[in-house]
């Protein structure tokens, strides 16, 4: 282990700038770390990438320099976890059979590609063309159902990609929201179809091309094999239909809902094969042991953390790069080299001080793809959850303006306001204090686990999730002030007689964020699972789900008659719910299939 450690220090020496945090006392304590982590060499630190590994190595080295140690029982500071990083087609094929004709088989990416959310399956059956495969709920005051009058049960459905091309803007807008391929797959599956084929129609952009498999962070199949096929493959299906695909599309493009689908005189054998690529990313975790015995001390572990991963070149996930910036390195200086540098500097500050509790420094990977690293940590914690006192999270703390620092999640413990007030007497920030602990960052994982947590940030900005989030734009002077403040808050928690008591917060019931969802159920989905159905990471206190008796760990498999295999199904199902109208929810708990009634409330 020692040798290996020395080895990577040697390798890093080539990479690390001449100044490192430890060497520049007097100068900024955060700049060197931010500049290194946000440099081109680390290529945006995408989870599982080489850049992320280099960042992790650097972080471990800095923690070791500060005097932090691997957790008890661990040989090093790395806590690896597995995640699905992407998917590719593993050789899907389609064979088309028409009466009196020799079967035609299409394979290869030009002819057929499974969709990223497709199940791996082999199915065969007759084919039904279902127009654009659109179903607009009646709730939208806009009726449109491509399946009206069609029987697709146990059949394979062929639909056009997108939505009718020639309609007015308002109709387009109404239809566009339901044209997502996941939604089309859901609609087909719920009508009993056993397979879905998508074609880009002759009158649409990129006509006849198959769809490249996209990155999909919710990592389970949609419960139906689904593939995009080429123009020639679609034409083969239409060959004996009496009218061409193009003529059919033209009729549909007027947006006339009365243009129906029809059975095609063909059967197909469809085999979809999706290879989901697993990768390993690493949380970096180390600790400064208490300076005395922790025997008898309430909750002897205090945690301080930040995520260090970012978006790589933004090809996956949630890049907001403009067209001109697409594919460039997303440096993530503020998001979240700033928080990482803060945690490293806190370690340096606290290393020389007395402390009653063990202070753990946790640098997460996989945050940008859904809090995967911190979730892995609380799911398989290296020490019992009940022994963890608090978690302090730093995410995007490098762009302070007008002295404003936001502390979110103060509702998670009654102790926070006093601790913050006291620490801020010396620090002097214009603190904005928000009680809601349900935040899109790693502190949520801890709040869900019942640990008093806080999330500090200086807020979002125009460079958020863009390649322009660079190290030169960081406000280092104020970032260093945050380090001192954070160290004081950490010490207050680490030295308290009683660790801050966790309080469960009932957050504002905002529910899902999709525009079409008009109700809230108070469920908190676990985005980091491959379970079939919707695994609940928690329920909002006092909200409909809690009232219905649902709780953390339940897996919702059906709501209001809609089967649910994943978060997308669930979101679409929510669109159909009406406030104050009770719906049946079927869920799995401890392997048992249970039912309850849930009454959604209006979204605020």
């Amino acid at each position: 282990m020692t040798r290996k450690f020395v080895g990577f220090i040697g390798a890093l020496a080539l990479l690390v700038p001449a100044t490192s945090p430890a060497q520049t006392a007097g100068a900024s304590r955060t700049r060197a770390a931010v500049e290194f982590l946000a440099s081109d060499r680390l290529e945006g630190r995408e989870a599982g990438s080489t850049g992320e590994r280099l960042a992790g190595d650097y972080i471990a080295m800095q923690l070791a320099r500060a005097g932090a140690k691997p957790l008890p029982g661990h040989a090093d500071m790395f806590l690896p976890f597995e995640f699905t990083s992407g998917s590719r087609d593993g050789g899907s094929t389609i064979t088309i059979r028409r009466d009196g004709q020799a079967p035609q088989t299409f394979n290869g990416a030009v002819q057929i590609q499974a969709l990223s959310f497709s199940d791996d399956a082999q199915v065969n059956g007759p084919v039904v063309f279902a127009g654009y495969g659109l179903v607009v709920p009646d709730s939208q005051n806009f009726g449109y159902d491509s399946y009206a009058g069609l029987d697709v049960k146990d059949k394979i459905v062929l639909v056009l990609h997108y939505f009718p091309e020639d309609t007015d803007a308002q109709t387009k807008a109404a239809l566009a929201r339901y044209s997502d391929l996941r939604y089309k797959a859901l609609a087909a599956r719920q009508r009993g179809a056993k397979g879905l084929l998508i074609v880009i129609g002759p009158r649409s952009p990129n006509k006849g091309e198959t769809l490249r498999m996209s990155f999909d962070t919710a990592l389970s199949g949609s419960g139906i094999p689904a593939a995009s096929i080429s123009g020639p493959a679609a034409n083969a299906l239409f060959a004996s239909a009496g009218k061409s695909l193009e003529a059919t599309q033209q009729e549909l493009d007027s947006g006339n809902p009365h243009v129906g689908g029809f059975a095609l005189p063909a059967t197909v054998d469809l085999r979809t094969k999706v290879v989901r690529e697993k990768q390993t990313a690493r949380n970096v975790v180390a600790y400064l042991p208490a300076t005395g015995s922790t025997a008898g001390i309430d909750k002897p572990w205090v945690m301080v953390g930040a995520h260090y991963d970012h978006l790589g070149r933004g090809t996956h996930g949630t890049s907001l790069a403009t067209k001109d910036e697409a594919g460039q390195i997303h440096h993530g200086a503020d998001d979240n080299a700033s928080g990482t540098a803060t945690v490293l500097a806190i370690a340096g500050t606290l290393a020389g001080q007395m402390r009653r509790r063990n202070i753990v420094f946790t640098l997460w990977s996989g945050e940008e793809i859904g809090l995967v690293g911190s979730n892995a940590f609380v799911t398989a914690p290296p020490m019992p959850i009940g022994q963890m006192g608090v978690y302090l999270n730093f995410d995007m703390v490098g762009r302070m303006q007008n002295n404003k620092l936001v502390a979110e999640g103060t509702g998670s413990s009654a102790s926070w306001p006093r601790i913050l007030e006291r620490a801020n007497v010396a620090a002097g920030f214009d603190l904005r204090v928000l009680p809601d602990p349900y935040q899109p960052t790693d502190s949520s994982s801890f709040n869900q686990a019942g640990i008093a947590s806080l999330f500090f940030t200086t807020g979002s900005h125009a460079d958020y999730h863009r390649p322009t989030d660079t190290a030169d734009k960081i406000n280092y002077e104020d970032l260093d002030r945050i380090v001192d403040f954070a160290a004081a808050v950490t010490r207050a928690a680490a030295d308290a007689d009683m660790a801050p008591q966790f309080t469960k917060v009932d957050p504002p019931a905002t529910g899902a964020t999709l525009a079409g969802v008009r109700v809230t159920t108070g469920t908190i989905p676990d985005y980091t699972t491959e379970a079939k159905g919707l695994l609940l990471a928690g329920v909002v206190g006092g909200a409909p789900a809690e009232k219905a008796g649902l709780t953390k760990g339940d897996v919702i498999v059906e709501i209001a008659g809609q089967s649910i295999t994943n978060i997308y199904d669930y979101t679409y199902a929510l669109e159909l719910l009406k406030a104050d109208q009770p719906v049946k929810v079927v869920y799995m708990r401890n392997g048992q299939r249970l039912e309850t009634t849930l009454i959604p409330t209006p979204r605020r």
Binding site: N402, N403, P417, R418, L420, E421, R422, A423, N424, V425, A426, G428, F429, D430, L431, R432, V433, L434
Partner: protein
């Protein structure tokens, strides 16, 4: 929105929650502005010209306000609702060197309006804790809140409010923290007033020998006409007058005799003048006045035709900081005006909601004030660096007031 800042130097009448209804047109901010536009435009400023490194001082608890500096500038005393079981303000002193906050008041009853006594460790404040019903009122207020009901904002002119002087236990020196309520020796509370009716809003003279304060005793110590009786039920603040007494509570003497709420008095830095604010009989319009400590030579300083109140004289004695809702009935901002009120006041704060109760530090380089800028409708104490030079420059550049915009 209901403004939920409570305030000693201002006791906003019951009207504050009822914006619009009954609001006299002349108090309308936009009306006042449009008149001002007809005159020479004064130079325009932004908040950061005068206030830098704005910071929130109080975080704990539901609300806090009215921060007053210790004479050495090392502590600040303020009122805050921050302990379970008591929904009313208690008085706390915060030590800048340690970050420690200690409670000054007994912990039960209602309190307000604290002030350090120069040259001693004493702090005055108004309290109702001697009222046997104190804890009952606390429970009633907690129950009311739990019921989810809302009431209009109104300051509570509890007739039991009396002025007390706190001294640290063991008669320790100024700033002796051992003297706090949790310390080894109990603090001493000396009751200084004993008149039926609200006695509060007290402050010491710079030499620590005198206290100016507000009392509504005039409503109770004589027969009332039917009209006065009705007025008392509607708004006891109407009877508020300024009084002066020795620091030991002796020699209480009335200084003002004008109907409408006179309150929030403070001494000038040399102790030779008293500054306060006077409401008209409607309780909607207030202006800043100064007078001699014997009540003579009364001079009106402001005339916005709005609610201008909570004045405090800068230690340089060259200008006055105050708050006004000139720009909107619930949009209070801090202003400053030259000591004689000869020029147009200059706006200091630029934030939505409430900014008021400005108190400069003894060295004149910082400002403490109460603001809702942290979010929500409840105030907290904020601090900022105060640019005295820029303030003087702005006052020099301010146009003469000329015809009063009325």
């Amino acid at each position: 929105m209901t403004l939920r800042i409570a305030i000693c130097s201002l006791l906003l009448a019951t009207t504050l929650g009822g914006v619009g209804a009954g609001l006299h047109p002349s108090t309308n901010a936009r009306g006042a502005l449009s008149q001002a536009e007809g005159q020479t435009r004064p130079p325009e400023y932004k908040e950061s010209d005068f206030l830098t490194r704005v910071r929130r001082l109080t975080v704990e608890g539901r609300r806090a306000g009215e921060g007053y500096w210790s004479p050495d500038g090392k502590q600040i005393v303020f009122q805050s609702e921050r302990e379970p079981g008591n929904p009313f303000y208690q008085i706390y002193a915060l030590d800048f060197a340690t970050g420690d906050t200690r409670r000054i008041s007994p912990g039960y009853g209602k309190t307000t309006c604290s002030f350090f006594r120069p040259g001693t460790g004493e702090i005055l404040f108004a309290s109702t804790h001697h009222d046997p019903k104190s804890k009952q009122f606390q429970q009633e207020e907690l129950d009311f809140r739990a019921s989810g009901k809302q009431r209009r904002y109104s300051w509570d002119y509890d007739t039991e409010f009396e002025i007390y002087a706190y001294s640290p236990g063991g008669g320790g020196p100024s700033g002796d923290r051992r003297g706090g309520p949790s310390g080894p020796s109990e603090p001493k509370y000396t009751r200084l007033t004993n008149a039926r009716g609200y006695d509060a809003e007290g402050s010491y003279s710079p030499d620590g020998q005198w206290i100016v304060f507000t009392s509504m005793r005039d409503a109770y110590n004589r027969p009332r006409s039917p009209a006065e009786q009705k007025q008392l039920e509607l708004d006891p603040g109407y009877f508020g007058e300024i009084y002066i007494m020795h620091a030991d509570g002796t020699g209480q003497k009335r200084l003002t005799r004008v109907v409408g709420y006179d309150g929030g008095p403070f001494f000038s830095p040399d102790g030779k003048r008293i500054i306060w604010r006077r409401f008209d009989t409607s309780g909607l319009i207030a202006n800043v006045f100064t007078m001699n400590p014997d009540g003579t030579d009364v001079r009106q300083i402001t005339d916005f035709g709005a609610m201008s109140w909570a004045p405090y004289i800068h230690p340089s004695a060259q200008y006055i900081l105050f708050a006004s809702n000139k720009l909107g009935f619930e949009n209070f901002e801090v202003y400053m005006v030259d000591i004689d009120g000869k020029k147009e006041p200059v706006r200091i704060t630029y934030a939505d909601g409430f900014d008021g109760l400005p108190v400069p530090s003894p060295d004149g380089r910082q400002l403490a004030w109460t603001s809702t800028r942290g979010g929500g409708s409840d105030g907290q104490v904020f601090l900022a660096q105060w640019n005295h030079e820029k303030a003087l420059e702005a006052l020099r550049a301010a146009p003469d007031r000329g015809v009063r915009p009325r």
